[in-house]
């Protein structure tokens, strides 16, 4: 077996696609998505990106909805370890590559780190225009009026956008990008991030990227505020932090408790090491 499971030609092709994606921030690049021991729809895009860029000097962290311990995160992490012998960690600070499904870590990323997103549907226009040919023309023309009208309609009827996750963003004032189904809460973290952000969609065979320090703004009207999930008055039951994205859990007796979604953040905060 070759290093990183994929053969060298496959890795070369994926790397070329990644380079092209980095050169055009927010632009969707097609790539030849390979067969993997994991089914499509379970993170094969993110996985291929990670396998193409990882080497012995890297430290890998894998999270699913913020948690290192979820079944999918564990399986993917074990798989990558088995085909690379790379060091793994739960710590956001120590990782050089973080593969994530649907969340951005709470702790700020640094230069030199790479965040690899698992993306189900890579094109944000799919939410407003089902025809792929028309989507391509819209991207070419920077015609995102349908996204704006959706925002207008929601604002007229409800006062604000109804989008809770996968909020459309505009990259360098040019391409509208799908940030993957991260909560609205995380959208602002994309902007001017010190880390390199790579997005892989295996089933849809697309890769796109945000080089460090890229301008990424959520699509919003000039005169409206960008409101995110509000956790005012709530703290994590485990670490007592009030600064993170919280999960709401129902106890057997019917009461609700809140816990940090990002497990490493919770651990670190609890140990006072933040």
């Amino acid at each position: 077996m070759t290093y990183g499971f994929l053969d060298e030609e496959a890795k070369k092709e994926i790397r070329r696609s990644i380079l092209k994606a980095i050169a055009i921030p927010g632009y969707i690049v097609s790539f030849a998505s390979r067969e993997l021991p994991i089914a499509r729809g379970w993170g094969t895009g993110g996985l291929q990106v990670t396998l193409a860029i990882i080497n012995e000097s890297d430290t890998l962290k894998v999270i699913d909805q913020g948690c290192d311990g979820s079944v999918n995160a564990v399986n993917i992490r074990n798989f990558i370890k088995s085909v690379t012998k790379v060091k793994t960690t739960f710590s956001t600070k120590e990782a050089s590559i973080i593969q994530t499904r649907h969340r951005i870590p709470e702790q700020e990323l640094q230069e030199g780190q790479i965040l690899v997103y698992q993306v189900p549907m890579p094109d944000i226009l799919e939410t407003v225009e089902p025809n792929t040919a028309k989507q391509k023309i819209m991207h070419a023309n920077a015609d995102y009026s349908k996204l704006w009208v959706l925002l207008y309609e929601d604002t007229s009827l409800f006062g604000d956008s109804r989008i809770s996750n996968r909020y459309p963003v505009l990259v360098e004032n040019r391409y509208a990008m799908d940030p993957s189904p991260i909560p609205k809460y995380d959208t602002l973290k994309l902007n001017n991030n010190k880390a390199l952000q790579l997005f892989g969609a295996g089933r849809e065979k697309k890769i796109y990227a945000l080089p460090p320090y890229t301008k990424v703004e959520p699509l919003k009207f000039e005169d409206k505020e960008f409101l995110v999930e509000n956790f005012e008055g709530k703290v994590c039951k485990r670490c007592k932090s009030s600064q993170s994205f919280l999960d709401e859990l129902y106890n057997d007796d019917g009461s609700t408790s809140y816990y940090c979604n990002d497990t490493d953040y919770c651990d670190t905060y609890k140990e006072g090491k933040l």
């Binding site: 023309n141 704006w148 009208v149 207008y152 309609e153 007229s156 005169d223």
Partner: protein
């Protein structure tokens, strides 16, 4: 001159060297005898000045609607040039709009020209509310301020006498005449310099027709855009236009002041048309 059309032609089919010469008003045919292609528009030359309203009249198959579609570029021309005063290349020279790339075509439709179709289904998006449709056009012209967008949408709906309370209703819940009026609001909301109308009232009830023609004329007086109206109905032409051209088999057979074309038609075909008014 705000619109200048030079030698515009549209041929459907194989095309050959005889198409344009062997078809037209005199041969009384639009079908090329050699290659059987259909010549929809045959070497049309037209010009329009600011604030003028041009009517294009003709019977079915005359090429009048095709001509409009060529200007708006819903259909690709076979040959010819169209110049619009406000459409310039990087050096500031007026450029043939038929050479416009995708981005430039978007600009043309967003801020210079608007089209009102006979069937509102072609001009409106039924997935958006009435206000949403107008908002789309306003957003395309560059406005990203919600309050401004909403106010302008209300303003233009008001202009076409659609009650403000219905701004969030979907087009299918309006009558045909109202849908047409929403289309007009939408077309005007980007402040176009040229408005193209393709049979704007055909198919509507007579009373509705009268109201909409009035409305269009009033708006044209008030805002001052130039207009090209295509109709087979001479009454509509008489009501709306200053200058009229008559088309037959893809060619213009007569051009003149509207009152002159209707009261003192020169071309035999025009005389036939005018004498056929009920």
């Amino acid at each position: 001159m705000i619109l200048d059309i030079k030698n515009l032609s549209k041929i459907f089919g194989k095309t050959c060297d005889m198409c344009l010469d062997e078809t037209g008003a005199k041969p009384n045919s639009s079908i090329c005898p050699k290659c059987k292609s259909i010549v929809g528009v045959n070497r049309v030359n037209l010009s329009l000045y600011k604030g003028e309203v041009l009517g294009i009249v003709g019977e079915s198959g005359s090429g009048k609607s095709t001509l409009l579609q060529l200007i708006y570029q819903d259909v690709k021309a076979s040959e010819g040039e169209i110049f619009i005063k406000h459409f310039k290349d990087k050096e500031g020279k007026t450029k043939n709009i038929l050479d416009a790339n995708l981005n430039e075509l978007g600009d043309l439709r967003n801020s210079i020209m608007s089209m009102i179709y006979q069937n509102p289904r072609l001009g409106l998006n039924y997935q958006f509310s009435a206000g949403g449709n107008i908002a789309e056009k306003i957003i395309c012209s560059g406005v990203k301020n919600y309050k401004m967008i909403r106010e302008r949408a209300l303003y233009f709906l008001d202009k076409t006498e659609i009650p403000n309370s219905r701004i969030d209703d979907y087009p299918e819940y309006f009558s045909g005449g109202q849908q047409q009026r929403i289309q007009i609001s939408k077309a005007l909301s980007s402040n176009p310099k040229i408005l193209l109308l393709d049979e704007p009232t055909t198919g509507l009830d007579l009373s509705v027709q009268a109201k909409i023609l009035d409305l269009i004329k009033e708006l044209q007086h008030e805002i001052g855009f130039s207009m090209v109206v295509v109709s087979h109905d001479l009454g509509v032409i008489k009501h709306l236009t200053d200058i009229t051209v008559v088309m037959k088999n893809g060619q213009i057979v007569e051009r003149g002041l509207t009152d002159q074309v209707l009261e003192d038609p020169q071309h035999p075909y025009t005389q036939l048309l005018v004498s056929s008014i009920l």
